[in-house]
Subunit: 205 residues, 2 copies
């Protein structure tokens, strides 16, 4: 590799690393003070960078939230794709539940709660939240449909699981000592009952 | 009644009416802009009163939130007591679910979501939210225990219902068009299954 090519690669990975660093700083700020209360100046201070430098990477706080959502989605996809490549959709479903609920940190749950709250009065954030909802619904519905007995309504099953999933995150955000175990077991039981057929699917609706 | 006594009563009901009026204004402000963004000045403007006058009724925004929580609780209690006096605990349970979920307004759901969010970083609000959680848990657990088949674990059943209830409110806050019907039916089905005995109670955990 020529010295010049090496420099280009370093600069690129440097920019990617810088973006990651800013996203980490943003996550810390948003969890501590909320999206609305956090300024680009706070973010720059947390990241130990100049505000001007932050703006080179993200043009607004909303752009930072899009960056966080994309990163979260990309991280989940790596896990899911590895499991789906192994042909194990049930394992992928189980892995996603494990990742989002059992392994979820309180900080992550607070960030989610804060964005839901902000979405009720900030259309840009509402659009990001809505896109995440749509992507999650599409993935879950497809995965549940592939696993379900004939006649099971995967969309209705996901609609039944969705508020329970949200409520688990709310409890995690509100209570540092919240044990997600029973609620995650409940989620798994609803999935099992829903997948076995339309009768069981009806029972949980 | 003497003229003087009449004046005292008028002044009292005037003060109560003024408190109600301030709470209505606060609800409107909090729903529109969130608890954190709302100042006592905003509240005074919304109520068409002077800030000094507002402080005669509520010493802080937190005191206003306590006032809102007390009012919400009192309104629920009137409904519940009427049903419980009629000896119908099942009707009271059904009425509470109807009131809090089917009849819930989007504004009410946004207010709740906002307070949960604020509770993650404001200890005074966290204490108010926690008290509401404790009171709701006590009432539900007692009511479920009175209705349940022997051996049913009412506390575990409530723990299973709680995140679903919260998630229904999140969806209502996020989406003006959210149909609570299926999720409320799911809530009722979980209660029915849970009340019939420990085996069914286990199935939903």
């Amino acid at each position: 590799m020529s010295a010049a090519a090496g420099t280009v690669i370093d600069a690129r990975s440097g920019a990617a690393a810088r973006r990651e660093h800013i996203l980490d700083a943003a996550e810390a700020c948003f969890v501590r003070n909320g999206f609305h209360r956090t300024t680009m100046q706070d973010l720059a201070r947390e990241a130990a960078m100049s505000p001007g430098n932050i703006y080179r990477y993200f043009e607004s706080k909303e752009a930072v939230v899009i960056g966080l959502a994309d990163r979260e989605w990309a991280r989940g996809e790596i896990l899911v794709e590895a499991m789906e490549r192994a042909g194990d959709r049930r394992g992928a479903l189980s892995g996603v539940i494990e990742r989002y609920f059992t392994q979820a940190t309180r900080a992550g749950a607070i960030l989610r709660l804060d964005l839901w709250c902000e979405a009720t009065r900030n259309p840009a954030i509402a659009a990001i939240v809505q896109q995440g909802e749509d992507e999650a619904r599409a993935w879950f519905t497809e995965t549940l449909a592939a696993l379900a007995a004939p006649g099971c309504d995967a969309a209705a099953l996901y609609a039944a699981l969705n508020p329970l999933m949200k409520g688990i995150l709310v409890n995690k955000a509100l209570d540092a000592g919240y044990d997600v175990g029973p609620a995650v077991a409940e989620l798994r039981a609803l999935i099992e009952a829903g997948l076995t057929g339309p009768a069981a699917g009806e029972a949980v609706r």
